[in-house]
């Protein structure tokens, strides 16, 4: 019998703690597949954030670090500067990367740190109880924006991919979504390209993955996927914002 589907080698065989319908699991798998396909599992190191994916270093079977909230790019910088031949990636949520860790992500990108960042944007702080994130859409109801996010009070959501792509140090920046099979296929391709960018030493790479949080959004998993498509993608356009070929 031919095996057509199996657990990626880079992932541990264990149940995940993520809520039903959460897309973290899919994104984890795409990363693991990319690592396997590039055959770099033994030299890969993951830096986990604070937030729902704080346990991601339990699921990836490679060497790992737990960073403090927002500091994963700085930790990854320290690791990569000591071990320039290893593959170092961070896995960060929107609160972690786009609020408390803005300084670290911007400067890691500006320095052109040869690391890969997987940025999971689900427009909310999930672990702490559904508070407004820097990426929460205008009008979106959260536990700290009970009447919906107001521009006058909270400003507008931050578009990190666009922001980081203008820095000279960033080599590959893409935004993808995992709300449907076609999107997942493209996401996988972008994640692989990001790792390849690091392996070839071209500079900083980041993939922003639009993701759902049915629990804190208060929706069924299916409705959440639809909500992402209809509300997030119009504000957060998908595509590659910067590719290594542009790097001089």
């Amino acid at each position: 019998m031919r095996k057509v589907f199996a657990r990626p080698k880079s992932m541990k065989d264990m149940p995940m703690h993520y809520c039903p319908g959460c897309t973290h699991g899919i994104i984890h798998r795409l990363i693991a597949e990319a690592i396997d396909e590039l055959n770099v599992f033994e030299q890969t190191i993951v830096v986990a954030p604070v937030g729902c994916s704080v346990f991601c270093c339990d699921y990836f079977d490679c060497d790992a670090y737990g960073a403090s909230h927002g500091r994963a790019p700085a930790v990854a910088t320290g690791v990569k500067r000591v071990l320039p031949d290893k593959i170092v990636f961070t896995y960060q949520g929107d609160g972690d990367l786009a609020a408390i860790g803005t300084s670290e992500i911007v400067h890691a990108a500006a320095r052109g740190e040869k690391i890969t960042v997987i940025f999971v944007n689900n427009a909310i702080y999930a672990m702490t109880g559904g508070q407004m994130a820097p990426t929460t859409l205008l009008g979106q109801v959260t536990t700290t924006t009970p009447k919906g996010r107001e521009k006058e009070l909270n400003g507008s959501p931050i578009k990190m991919s666009e922001m980081l792509s203008v820095l000279d140090g960033s080599a590959y920046i893409a935004r993808v979504s995992v709300h449907n099979p076609a999107g997942i296929f493209k996401a996988k391709k972008a994640i692989k390209t990001a790792f390849e960018t690091q392996i070839s030493g071209k500079g900083f790479s980041m993939v922003e993955v639009l993701s759902t949080c049915p629990t804190n959004w208060g929706m069924t998993p299916l409705k959440a996927l639809k909500w992402l498509e209809e509300n997030m993608i119009p504000y957060y356009p998908l595509g590659e914002f910067k590719t290594p070929t542009e790097v001089v």
Binding site: Q43, C62, D63, A64, A74, V79, R81, E104
Partner: protein, 353 residues
């Protein structure tokens, strides 16, 4: 191995390099600038990396990454920057990562000023950040001792897997004294770090550097392990200097630059035949409590002298444990205690008897 004249801040840098430190992450702040200036030039010469971070928060987390990867790594700053680093220091302690953190203390609180001070004593010796932990804190009082202690700092850090802080002040950083410096210090710590997270590379199992223990039973177990380590350090690593304490009835207690001034005060008294001595803690944590407690059997009085409003005096009190009265003389805000003033303060205590 000739004698050379060296500035304290530069001695920290050169000492670190000779101790095998190849990585430095830092952010500019006065009055420790000569150290990063020196290392920015020297580290690339020895195949190391000097990287200026976006903030002290950035630097300490880079230290976390580099230490986790098994490297000998250092950062330095002063009061306000060290405050920013506290989050990272707590994580380093939690994850049991060895590193050396230099604090060239300046006047505080807040922005304070850039003049020498010892007012970060509490912060340094009580952990500094959140959680149940300690740092080893070393306080040299000469440029030669900086060189010797920086080497020891890296060994202690590696042996116990604990962050070590070198506490100095602007005077110590700026002054020049002759030093003898080895080409390469012989480390007494194990070179191989099997726990380091460096990529599995056929190891067969993963290494994880983290301070996260989500299950309370696990975290308690971890904290008990840390406490046992702290106890062992406390037992075996107290360092101090006794200066004319043998028959002393009044004992000054001071560290760092203040201890140097106090030595001059002791000299003044001894010239007059007065039984005054100095106990100089070299490790501020672990504080040399044992010796201080035994000196309390012989002395009538203790005088804690600090460049603060009185912080180390807490540890003197704990050590002496009520056996004898403890007095305080301090200058603050960047003012240096003058030998003549300490002398007068001490004289009052001698007259009381």
């Amino acid at each position: 191995m000739a004698k050379i004249l060296m500035k304290g801040n530069e001695a920290i840098g050169e000492g670190a390099i000779r101790a095998g430190c190849k990585y430095f992450f830092g952010y500019p702040i006065t009055p420790q600038s000569e150290l990063p200036h020196y290392l920015a030039k020297r580290l690339p010469e020895v195949g190391g990396v000097y990287l200026q971070a976006e903030s002290e928060i950035g630097s300490i987390n880079m230290v976390y990454g580099a230490a986790g990867a098994g490297a000998r790594v250092m950062t330095s700053s002063s009061g306000p920057g060290i405050s920013l680093m506290q989050e990272g220091i707590s994580y380093l302690a939690g994850a049991e990562l060895p590193c050396v953190i230099v604090n060239i203390v300046r006047g505080g609180p807040g922005l304070g000023n850039i003049a020498p001070a010892q007012s970060d004593y509490w912060q340094a010796t009580r952990g500094g950040g959140h959680g149940d932990y300690q740092l080893i804190v070393l306080a040299p009082d000469s440029v030669q001792e900086i060189i010797d202690l920086i080497n020891k700092a890296f060994d202690l850090a590696d042996n116990y897997r604990i962050p070590v802080m070198l506490l100095g002040d602007g005077v110590l950083g700026q002054m020049m004294e002759p030093v003898i410096i080895e080409d390469q210090y012989e480390t007494k710590a194990p070179k191989e770090k099997k726990w380091a997270s460096t990529g599995r590379m056929g190891r067969g199992s993963k290494n994880l550097v983290t301070s996260l223990h989500i299950v309370p039973e696990d975290l308690e177990k971890h904290n008990i392990k840390l406490a046992a380590k702290h106890e062992e350090i406390s037992r075996s690593e107290q360092i101090w200097e006794e200066y004319n304490t043998k028959d002393a009835r009044l004992i000054l207690v001071a560290y760092g630059t203040t201890a140097r001034v106090c030595k001059a005060v002791v000299d003044m008294f001894r010239e007059e035949g007065m039984p005054v001595g100095l106990l100089r803690p070299v490790t501020l944590w672990p504080f040399p409590s044992q010796i201080l407690n035994s000196l309390a059997d012989q002395a009538d009085n203790f005088l804690a002298v600090e460049m603060s409003m009185g912080q180390m005096i807490d540890d003197v009190r704990l050590a002496v444990n009520g056996k004898k009265p403890i007095h305080f003389y301090g200058r603050s805000g960047g003012m240096l205690p003058v030998a003549r003033d300490i002398y007068q303060e001490a004289q009052k205590l001698l007259m009381e008897e």
